[in-house]
């Protein structure tokens, strides 16, 4: 494992981590502020990617498609909130799991019905489709760097919003004790809607940015949703800072684990067994990490909720 390979994989891990962060940020806020467990958040990511494909087909311009997809993802998230999710606040987690599981079935199958089961692709913008040469004639795609940059930018923006605006203050207070800030005169319903719509838009943004790298398919959000849950549980529910750190950790652990676990396993096992064990251990690593964190710190690394 050369230094170049390690660097490339670390960048890939960082990129996965930041995509995860974009999804997890909305998830952790919705969860923390509204105590609402939204399994359908991964679908929002899928919807974002498909919207971008549709708008790209109409405009043939990536930037314009991105902008339109963001607006549409926001509108879509707000509509879902008004239609379904609003009626589930304050209900048991079981009802929420059930309803959002149903939404996953509907939207995943809906995407399949409208766009077909075959993966679609979204081209990268012309100017950003090249590669930056690394050592030994090995290039690193610019677009992946753009994803990393966008992720870091959104993280900084979110930090500013949550820490330094009035709305952000209410969001933080809501994550600690939503009932109390309602009693203090904050319009919780509007706050919930705002948080929800914003979270949906971020997940949609992640979908648009990831679309040129991964295939756009109906089930693309499933795996990432579970990973995003791992992220917010490790980071501590309701904490943006926790979500950011945990997302980067999970992205790096997963990517580096997948690239090097077979090599590591070969140090201890016969090659045939190592080829079996390596990938299995790599896929399990983040879940082992989460179980470990929950065992020693049952509230995650940065618990937001009081008490």
């Amino acid at each position: 494992m050369s230094a170049t390979l390690l660097a490339v994989q670390a960048l890939n891990g960082l990129q996965l981590g930041l995509v995860l962060f974009l999804i997890a940020a909305g998830l952790t806020l919705v969860f923390g502020v509204m105590d609402f467990i939204n399994l359908a958040h991964g679908v929002q990511y899928m919807v974002g990617a498909y919207l971008a494909v549709v708008f790209y087909g109409l405009t043939a311009h990536f930037g314009l498609a991105l902008l339109l997809a963001l607006v549409a993802a926001l509108v879509f998230g707000l509509a879902m909130e008004a239609l379904v999710y609003r009626h589930l606040y304050g209900r048991s987690h079981l009802d929420q799991v059930l309803a959002t599981f149903g939404i996953i079935l509907i939207l995943t199958e809906g995407a399949k019905a409208v766009f077909g089961p075959a993966p679609l692709s979204l081209p990268r913008p012309e100017a950003l489709s090249g590669a930056i040469p690394l050592m030994d004639g090995f290039g690193y795609p610019v677009w992946r760097l753009v994803i990393i940059g966008a992720g870091l930018g959104v993280a900084a923006l979110l930090y500013g919003l949550v820490q330094h605006t009035r709305m952000g203050m209410q969001v933080r207070a809501g994550a600690t004790d939503a009932e109390m800030i309602g009693a203090l005169g904050v319009d919780i319903r509007r706050l919930f809607m705002g948080v929800f719509g914003f979270g949906a838009m971020l997940a949609g943004f992640a979908g648009v940015m990831a679309a040129p790298v991964f295939a756009v398919e109906p089930t693309m959000g499933d795996g990432l949703l579970i990973m995003a849950f791992v992220v917010i549980v490790i980071g501590g529910i309701g904490s943006i800072r926790g979500a950011f750190l945990a997302a980067v950790i999970v992205g790096l652990v997963d990517t580096l684990g997948r690239s090097f676990s077979t090599d590591v396993a070969r140090m201890f096992l016969a090659p045939a067994a190592a080829n079996d064990v390596g990938p299995a251990v790599a896929s399990m690593l983040v879940y082992v990490l989460m179980a470990g964190v929950l065992f020693w710190r049952p509230q995650g690394l940065f618990p937001a909720r009081a008490g």
């Binding site: 969860f31 467990i37 399994l39 379904v84 009626h87 589930l88 987690h93 079981l94 009802d95 929420q96 799991v97 059930l98 309803a99 599981f101 149903g102 939404i103 996953i104 079935l105 509907i106 939207l107 995943t108 199958e109 809906g110 399949k112 019905a113 579970i226 849950f229 791992v230 549980v233 529910i237 080829n275 079996d276 064990v277 990938p279 299995a280 896929s283 399990m284 879940y287 082992v288 989460m290 179980a291 929950l294 065992f295 049952p298 509230q299």
Partner: protein, 322 residues
């Protein structure tokens, strides 16, 4: 845990005459289907009965214990591989693999429950999900046993060397027996002193602890029992499909099992059983209507979650109460 001698005997409900009638009707159903030339429905109902075993097992921890386990499919897939792996090594004896499936799943439940039951609420949901995913990925890596693709079994488990369950009716009756047994067991456990402690811990954990009950131990035992029954369901599933695959352990299956329990009304073990059968029949009927039947199923699921908070059992109770 010592059972207090003065605990009042649980109120006896009406003698389960209704249950006997339902089982008898279900037992005769294959004859009717064959006579009507609709033998295919025997296969559909068998699958429903297998999932009923799993759903009723889940109901014990979910409905009675209030523990939202989102990794129940792990027990199922462990049970299935406890049939599949011995089969690969030419061990096809049901009297060996069925107990093996239950023991393996119960052991897994004990080990993971000991960790998961230390967490509460949503963290419990997530950690059980994590354990389920671990099993799923571990099985996809078993390339000797088919890896991702799973493996086909070229037959069903035997009993004392006899190939009893080749016939789909015989296999149906086996599933029915397992479902009826599970129903009776879970119902008896739920109504026992043990079940009341479990229920009490769901309603108020601190109070049960203050009363001197070891809540953690009670929950762990219930979790292991539920896991064993889940393993049984998995073993039956492997036999039903004559196929074993990591897909049985996917988190979608865990979600569907929760749907079955809630569809039936999550406080009722009978409801969970019928919820599972209903879902199996519904999937079959809807998939004949349209290839995108999952949209209809999803709409139904959302509707149940939003409107019918106590599922089929509740709707039935309201209808009777009128």
């Amino acid at each position: 845990m010592t059972l207090a001698a003065e605990t009042p005997a649980p109120a006896r409900a009406a003698p389960p005459l209704g249950a006997v009638a339902v089982v008898a009707a279900l037992a005769l159903a294959p004859l009717a289907f064959d006579a009507a030339g609709a033998g295919f429905w025997i296969v559909v109902l068998s699958r429903g009965l297998v999932y009923a075993v799993a759903a009723m097992a889940l109901q014990l921890v979910l409905g009675r214990g209030g523990l939202v386990c989102f990794g129940f499919a792990a027990f199922l897939v462990i049970g299935a591989y406890a049939v599949g792996i011995p089969y690969h090594h030419r061990v096809e004896e049901g009297l060996v693999v069925l107990p093996l499936a239950m023991a393996a799943a119960a052991l897994f439940a004990l080990a993971t429950g000991a960790i998961a039951l230390r967490t509460r609420g949503v963290y419990f949901i997530m950690i059980t999900l994590a354990f389920g995913q671990m099993v799923y990925y571990a099985l996809t890596a078993l390339s000797t046993y088919g890896g991702d693709d799973g493996m086909t079994l070229w037959g069903r488990s035997q009993v004392a060397g006899f190939d009893l369950f080749r016939d789909r009716r015989a296999f149906y009756w086996l599933c029915l027996g397992a479902a009826a047994g599970t129903w009776a067991l879970v119902r008896a456990v739920s109504r026992s002193h043990f079940g009341r402690v479990l229920e009490g811990a769901r309603q108020n954990e601190a109070r049960m602890a203050a009363l001197g009950f070891d809540v953690f131990r009670v929950r762990l035992i219930a979790y292991a029992l539920s896991g064993a029954l889940g393993g049984l369901a998995g073993a039956l599933l492997a036999n039903h499909a004559e196929f074993v695959s990591p897909a049985y352990g996917s988190w979608h299956v865990s979600g569907e099992l929760i749907v079955m329990v809630v569809l039936g009304g999550f406080a009722s073990v009978t409801g969970a059983g019928f919820g599972a059968i209903l879902l199996a029949v519904l999937e079959e009927v809807l998939s004949r209507l349209t290839s995108h039947w999952k949209i209809l199923l999803g709409l139904g699921v959302v509707g149940v979650a939003l409107l019918a908070r106590d599922g089929l059992a509740g709707a039935l109770a309201r209808w009777r109460g009128r």
